[in-house]
Amino acid sequence: MAKVIEGLYYAESHEYVRVEGEFGYIGITDYAQDQLGNVVYVDMPEVDDEVTAGEEFGAVESVKAASDLFSPVSGTVVEVNEALEDEPELINKDAFENWIIKVQLSDKSELDKLMDAKAYEAICK
């Protein structure tokens, strides 16, 4: 059974946002990493790139397939998780701990359109 964490915001496309002040840490959910299988590469944007809610910002790839990443929120990338460049499999070990990008949120009201843990858990069944 895939893990879902309270207090995060979830998108239907299986990304999460963990909000800390003005910043959001974006990654893929435990359910998503489980569906994908072993992650062998993460395609990430660069610091200072803009991301837009609902739009693609990178990809996570298994041996067989590339799966696009969609940003749940809009903002500016202030940090990428460089550990994933050498160890993409960290996402399989703990998808919530190993976020992919840190974004300065440009519109916090977008968070209202995302799901809470309970609602997200329901769509993973």
Binding site: N38, V40, Y41, G58, E61, S62, P88
Partner: protein
Amino acid sequence: MSDKRTCLYERHIRQGAKMVSFGGFEMPIQYTDIADEHVAVRTACGVFDVSHMGEVLVTGREAERFVQHIFTNDVSGAPVGKIFYGMMLHPNGGTIDDLLVYKEGDERFFLVINAANIDKDFAWISKQVKAFDAVAENQSDYYGQLAVQGPKAEEVVERVLGLACQELAFYTFKKMEVEGETIIVSRTGYTGEDGFEIYASHGLIQQMWDKLMESGEAKPCGLGCRDTLRFEVGLPLYGDELTDELSPLEAGLGIFVKLDKEEFVGKEAIAKQKAEGLTRKIVGIELEGRAIPRHGYEVVADDKVIGEVTTGYNSISTGKSVCMALVDIEHAKLGTPVQVRIHKKLQPGVVIKKRFYDKNYKK
């Protein structure tokens, strides 16, 4: 039309395989993990359900002459028990399919063709055979097929399945009697490792699969790792490196096209291509980074698109991101710098031999 199922379908489901559509069949892509299955074949033993493959039996007084007519390799004068790899071509040199030809007798040849091409191939074969004193029979629905592959395959086939295969040389086969049925066992495969392919009735294939599973000595492997394994050793997959529009020369498979043969469909086109020189070719490309090149991605040089990726992976055995790609001939030389467009970014790489891992066949 819905996909067909092999005689092992229920077993795949019971074993929790992830199923996908391939070549008109619902096939297992993986049981647990592609990389684990891949490594099992490289280091020990894996078993694949390849019952989706097609089989055509050609018999008759002119069976050999007919095979010579539709096949690029040269089977003349071969001993019974020998297997040949080659292609069937369109008159313009494009590839109808790549296949194995088993010589069962002077007037009896067994053709093994790709699942996705069974209907196309059999239509072509049926049309061509009319001009010969020979008959072709599509036996695809009768046969199930297992591929037991890996350095321990010989031991597993001998001991677990009780089939004497030790004496078989690479690319030879023999027929054996099992429970009153004749089965075919060949030392062939599609992984770059030693191994065997076994053709038998559905019932016997199911029994053999069960024996292998009970023994725990052959890991069930899906088509996912079948593709990563064949790719690493530079073997083509029809649909990627060979197509109706691509010739074997362009795919770098010229050694399986015997232009010194008297005649075969496509010979003139291939001879012309050889004389005039190729305009494009399948090459290997190694990328500097870990980004993964995939089928259909653009290959770029000097700001121009000069080709596209046919198959690509982050190689499980070497960890490098590599691909096979069809590129314009000016950029096909070893050592040529090229780029592959992956998720909008251009990733630098270089043209290398399209063998990313050395084969480990038993000769």
